[in-house]
């Protein structure tokens, strides 16, 4: 059972760790500045200086932006696509995984198709998605859905199979119907595992989205990276990378909050 340290119980360690973390980041920035503009050890076309990155950031944040839109518009566009693809994957994958976990018959029926499709990496679907849906949003939502779907199904399935049979037996002896057993025993019991799957799904969704946008898109952070690469504009490439990281971290943080609200009954390890 995967568990991770929760922030509770750190006590006085928090300020100290924050100080150490800030010092490390500050040191790295200083080294970066020294290597690029301070001592000019590196070719600025390979690694831009902090000032160049800041200039690129200013350029894309204001006015015309870059690659057809401002940073916020690109980021919101990418976030929105991930949110849509992820939501569709969750809404389809979790019920399917629950069904396969609960019913051996459903598993026997669905699993072969699943085993057939599962080894195909989601990125390999991108060309087909473009052929089917073009370079617009639909194709991207489709590949994100494919990406996030597999971990959602597998973890919901594993979660159901991991529910202690004695708990199901106990609920039955108390007169619970099948629907009540599923709602009050199976789903909550599978929930920690489901969230593990969702975290994997979310990370993979961002990977897939950036790849799909690199291949071809009108907006989005992947498009920023793509255009900046063609323009040989290293400062803008770094801005794009940082924006992808920030969006990924923000969505992961939101998911963690949701998990702590839903799985509120577990001992904090």
């Amino acid at each position: 059972m995967p568990t991770e340290a929760r922030s509770s119980g750190w006590g006085f360690a928090v300020p100290r760790r924050a100080v150490v973390g800030l010092a490390t980041v500050g040191g790295a920035l200083l080294l970066w500045w020294l290597a690029t503009s301070g001592l000019r050890l590196l070719n600025p076309l390979r690694l831009p200086s902090p000032q160049e990155v800041w200039a690129a950031f200013s350029q894309i944040s204001t006015g015309q932006g870059y690659g057809g839109a401002t940073l916020w518009q690109h980021a919101l566009h990418s976030l929105w696509l991930v949110a849509k693809g992820f939501a569709v994957a969750v809404a389809t994958g979790i019920p399917l995984g629950l069904l396969m976990g609960w019913s051996r018959r459903a598993e026997a029926l669905i699993n072969p198709i699943f085993l057939l499709l599962r080894p195909i990496p989601a990125l390999a679907w991108i060309p087909l998605a473009i052929v089917w849906f073009g370079l617009g949003d639909t194709g991207k939502v489709f590949v994100i859905w494919l990406t996030a779907f597999v971990p959602s199904v597998i973890n919901a399935f594993t979660g159901v199979r991991g529910v202690d049979p004695v708990l199901i037996a106990a609920a039955r002896t108390q007169g619970a119907s099948t629907a009540q057993v599923i709602r009050h025993v199976v789903v909550p019991g599978a929930m920690p595992m489901i969230f593990t799957g969702l975290r994997l799904s979310l990370q993979a969704s961002w990977t897939t989205l950036v790849a799909a946008e690199l291949v071809g898109a009108f907006f989005g952070l992947g498009r920023v990276l793509n255009v900046a690469g063609q323009d040989i504009f290293p400062g803008m490439i770094l801005v794009g990378m940082a924006a992808v990281a920030a969006c990924g971290a923000a969505t992961t943080w939101l998911l963690g909050r949701a998990e702590r609200r839903v799985v509120n009954w577990r001992p904090a390890v």
Binding site: V166, L167, Q174, G175, V185
Partner: protein, 277 residues
């Protein structure tokens, strides 16, 4: 109508490497309506398996289990079970765990709340109504499991070592409480325990089982002792000091011991196997 009848009940479990393990061998046992029967026996003799068959969670390979004259086909809230492993829902609070069966029955909220409050109080769980099971001690979890069974007012109570995780003091309190409940509102009870004392003190009859294969060695009626000795009116520690009680205790111990010497615990369940059909 809640007498529990085992008729020639045999239970074999398939072994992972083929063959079968004979867990219970032709058990005949009749537990009358409102009778309190304790089952004692060494680990692995099939006590839990027997209870699960009365609960409708497991089924005999041969023979029949009848409750109230009808063959058991599945579990039901009129037969409440206290599981050896407590089996509380970790995602529900104490209150929700105790009220789960009432919720399934759609008992009106006011009525359910009153019943839950009564058993919270009775089981000494006040102040912990909103705790999750992992926040309770083992003994407290066990008391939640007991409260959850009592609150259903079942016709039959099937209890698998319900006091196993309790400290000695709480255990005595719960034993006396169970006797009081059983006298005030008698129901059919199967009570599994490793503690011979507890079995004699609580039960109308004690069933002594042996293992490899699981069989009934002897069934002993305790009622004459209790009535002649006036146990009802005495505190538990005095009852346990009476000569009649200590004599009965050593008699049961001897039965268990003789059986184990004659048939020591098998290192592997090989001696009790029969070839797969």
């Amino acid at each position: 109508m809640s007498e529990i009848v085992f008729e020639g009940v045999t239970r074999r479990f398939p072994l992972p490497r083929g063959g079968e393990f004979l867990a219970i061998d032709r058990i005949d046992l009749r537990i009358e309506e409102r009778e309190f029967v304790a089952i004692v026996g060494p680990s692995g003799c099939g006590k839990t398996t027997l209870m699960r068959m009365a609960a409708g969670l497991d089924f005999p390979t041969d023979g029949r289990v009848l409750v109230g004259g009808k063959e058991v086909t599945g579990p039901g809230p009129e037969r409440a079970v206290v599981f050896q492993q407590f089996a509380l829902l970790p995602w529900k609070t104490v209150r929700e765990n105790i009220g789960f069966g009432l919720m399934c029955k759609r008992t009106p909220k006011a009525e359910a709340d009153a019943a839950i409050a009564r058993y919270v109080e009775l089981m000494g769980l006040s102040g912990h109504e909103d705790s999750f099971p992992h926040q309770l001690s083992g003994g407290m979890q066990q008391r939640v499991a007991i409260a959850r069974a009592y609150v259903m007012q079942p016709a039959a109570l099937l209890m698998d070592e319900p006091f196993g995780a309790l400290d000695a003091q709480t255990r005595i309190v719960m034993q006396e409480e169970l006797v009081r409940l059983a006298r005030r509102n008698p129901r059919t009870v199967i009570f599994i325990t490793h503690a011979v004392d507890e079995a004699i003190y609580l039960a109308d009859r004690v069933v002594v089982m042996g293992r490899n294969p699981g069989r009934i060695i002897e069934t002993i009626d305790i009622r004459p002792l209790r009535e002649d000795g006036g146990w009802e009116a005495m505190p538990i520690e005095e009852v346990m000091d009476t000569p009649a009680f200590t004599h009965m205790r050593s008699r049961i111990w001897k039965l268990l011991k003789a059986r184990e010497q004659e048939r020591p615990a098998a290192p592997a369940p090989i001696p009790a196997t029969v070839p797969a059909k």
